[in-house]
Every structure is written in structure tokens, then in C-alpha cells.
Amino acid sequence: MMLLLRALSASLVILVVLVAPLAAQQRDRPDRRPPGVVPPNVPPLTLPVVHGDNEWLELRGRLGRPAFLQAQAKPTQQEEFTPVSELPPEEQLAAAPLLIGAYAFVLAVLFGYLVTVSRRLSAITRDINRLTAEMKTAGRG
């Protein structure tokens, strides 16, 4: 009698543990899921042969938490506030210096090149005028 009761209770637990994730998978099928609902993280359902307590625990671990327990999970609570200055450097990097640096660099380089080319042109034009004058003088002499 006790053996029968034990077998029945074990069957009931197995049924709940196996069917609940299966039901969750069925509920979250894309064709059944309402728009905007994110599916819970249910692992793929496998059916190993159960021989004893250890295997039972292993099976329980593989199946993950049942869907009715997942639905009750609360969002993590914030336990402390962290000032932005205490964040790692890559997370507290400000955008403004990079933006201003980029724009300043572009304008400085373009303006610098313009000035350089203008000075080169002025120097060559001056040399041309000087040589032309020299040639005229040499031609007269």
C-alpha cells in the first residue's frame, strides 16, 4: 500500500514537472503568443530515463523552473546608487569632447591646408614675376 502511494505521488510530481514546461512551450508557440509578449527562458524538453534520486534531481535541473514559478519571479531590486564618476572609464566617457575634437580637427586641417596651398601659390607667383622682370632686364641689356 505504502509502495503504491509512493509510486502515485512520484507519478504526480513527474507529471507536474514534465507537463508544466511543455504547457509553457505550447503557450509560447509563435502562432499562439500575443504580440509583444517575450517568451520565458525554458530549456528544450528532454525525456531521460529516471532510475533514482540523483537522476531525478538531474532531470529537475535540466528542465529548469516550472512556468508557474517563473511567472512569479520578481525583477531584481536595486540595492545601491552608484555615482557616474565611479563607473569604469569606458562607461563614463563623455561624447562632447570627442565631437568637439572631431569638428575642430576637421576645420583646422582643412583651413591649414588652404593656407599652405595659398602660400605656395603666392611664392611661385612672386618667383614668376621676379624671373619675368629679370628676363626683360637681360633682354634690354
Binding site: L98, L99, Y103, S118
Partner: protein, 221 residues
């Protein structure tokens, strides 16, 4: 200089002076925020970098085909534009990436091929400066490699795995972001044309100066 040069230079100066105001009207991008506004100078300069490579390559082909020195001067000027706008692109990109990607540089296909194109333009200029007689034809051959690299740079983001934005970004821009971009593209294009003309003029005057030195030597001897 041609008559249109001074008015065009004034318009270009005004466009650049007003560009920060136009860019300020663009909304913040949802994931990158403020730093994404580097895009409005980065992308036009990148396009000018590619256009300059193409102009350098096409002028070099024409020079090799006809032997006309005018095409050679245009190619030389365009090579300098390639270096100039390539420098702007390769510096503003990492400044943007540092915040958006968390790193200054990644060796993806787009950035690496852009660096290669930029170095080809440097090689062209070094060859012209130190290559001696006949270097203009060698440099023209080099410019062809620079031009062949351009389509590769452009399509690389669509075929290789990268975190660089795809080429579909620009056609899908909303008007609020598209207007500042095309405004800056016009400003950069006008600046490119003006600088190309100015640099070609320098090369033209330098050739005239060389001819004058030769004529003066003959006159003295």
C-alpha cells in the same frame, strides 16, 4: 584663377560657417546619442576621399593615354586631396568609434581598405617628390591601384562581417537627419572642387616657373 573661384569660395565659407547650426537641428540617434553627429563631417569627407581617388585614377589614365601634362597636374592635385580627406576620415572615424563601439580602431574590411587607399595616395606623393625623372608615369600606374580600391572600400561593409554601418543607412535616413547630411556633402564637394582647382593652379604655375628658369638659362648662355 577663373572668375567663379572667389564667389564659390565665399559660398563655401558661409556653408561651413553655418554647418554647426544646421547639424544642431538634427535629432540625436537612438543608440549613439550626441557622438553620432560626427557622422555629418565624417561621411562627406569619406565620400570626397573616394571621389579624389577616382579623379586621380581617371586623370592618370588620361595622362598615360594622351601624355597631356594637364591631366598629370590634375592627378597630382587629386592625390593630395585623397591624402587630405582620407586623413579627416581616418581621424574622425576613431573619435566616433571610441564612444559608439568602445574602441578606437577595428581591423575590419572597410577601415583597413580605407587605410590602404590612403597609403597608396601617400606613396603617389612620395614617388612624385623623390622619384626623379619619369616618376609621373610610375605614379600614374600607382593611382590606378588607388582607384581600383574604391569600389572595394564602398561595398566592403555589405559583404564582410563588420560593425560599420551598412550602405543602406543613407537612403533610409529620415529628413531631419538627411538634410544636414546633404548640406554638409554640398559644402565638402564645393570645398573639394575649390581646393582641387587651387592645387592644380599651383602645379600649373610651378611648371611655368620651371620653363622660365630654363628660358633664362638659355638667355644667359
Amino acid at each position: 584663377m577663373p572668375a567663379w573661384f572667389t564667389p564659390a569660395a565665399l559660398v563655401c565659407g558661409l556653408l561651413f560657417a553655418a554647418s554647426p547650426l544646421v547639424i544642431a537641428t538634427a535629432p540625436y540617434e537612438s543608440t549613439m546619442g550626441l557622438v553620432q553627429k560626427i557622422f555629418y563631417y565624417h561621411m562627406p569627407s569619406a565620400w570626397m576621399f573616394l571621389i579624389a581617388s577616382i579623379v586621380c585614377g581617371v586623370s592618370s589614365v588620361r595622362f598615360l593615354a594622351t601624355g597631356d601634362a594637364r591631366h598629370d597636374r590634375t592627378a597630382w592635385a587629386a592625390a593630395e586631396m585623397t591624402v587630405l580627406f582620407g586623413l579627416v576620415t581616418l581621424v574622425t572615424g576613431p573619435l566616433w568609434a571610441r564612444k559608439a563601439w568602445g574602441t578606437w580602431w577595428v581591423w575590419d574590411a572597410r577601415i583597413t581598405s580605407s587605410l590602404v587607399g590612403w597609403m597608396i595616395a601617400w606613396a603617389y606623393l612620395i614617388l612624385r617628390k623623390y622619384g626623379g625623372a619619369g616618376s609621373e608615369k610610375l605614379a600614374a600606374g600607382l593611382a590606378l591601384f588607388g582607384m581600383a580600391n574604391v569600389p572595394f572600400i564602398y561595398i566592403s561593409v555589405n559583404y564582410w562581417r563588420t560593425i560599420h554601418p551598412a550602405t543602406t543607412v543613407v537612403p533610409r535616413l529620415p529628413v531631419s537627419m538627411g538634410f544636414p547630411l546633404w548640406y554638409c556633402v554640398i559644402a565638402f564637394l564645393l570645398l573639394f572642387v575649390l581646393l582641387l582647382k587651387l592645387r592644380s593652379r599651383v602645379a600649373e604655375q610651378a611648371a611655368r616657373l620651371d620653363a622660365l628658369y630654363l628660358a633664362l638659362d638659355e638667355q644667359r648662355s
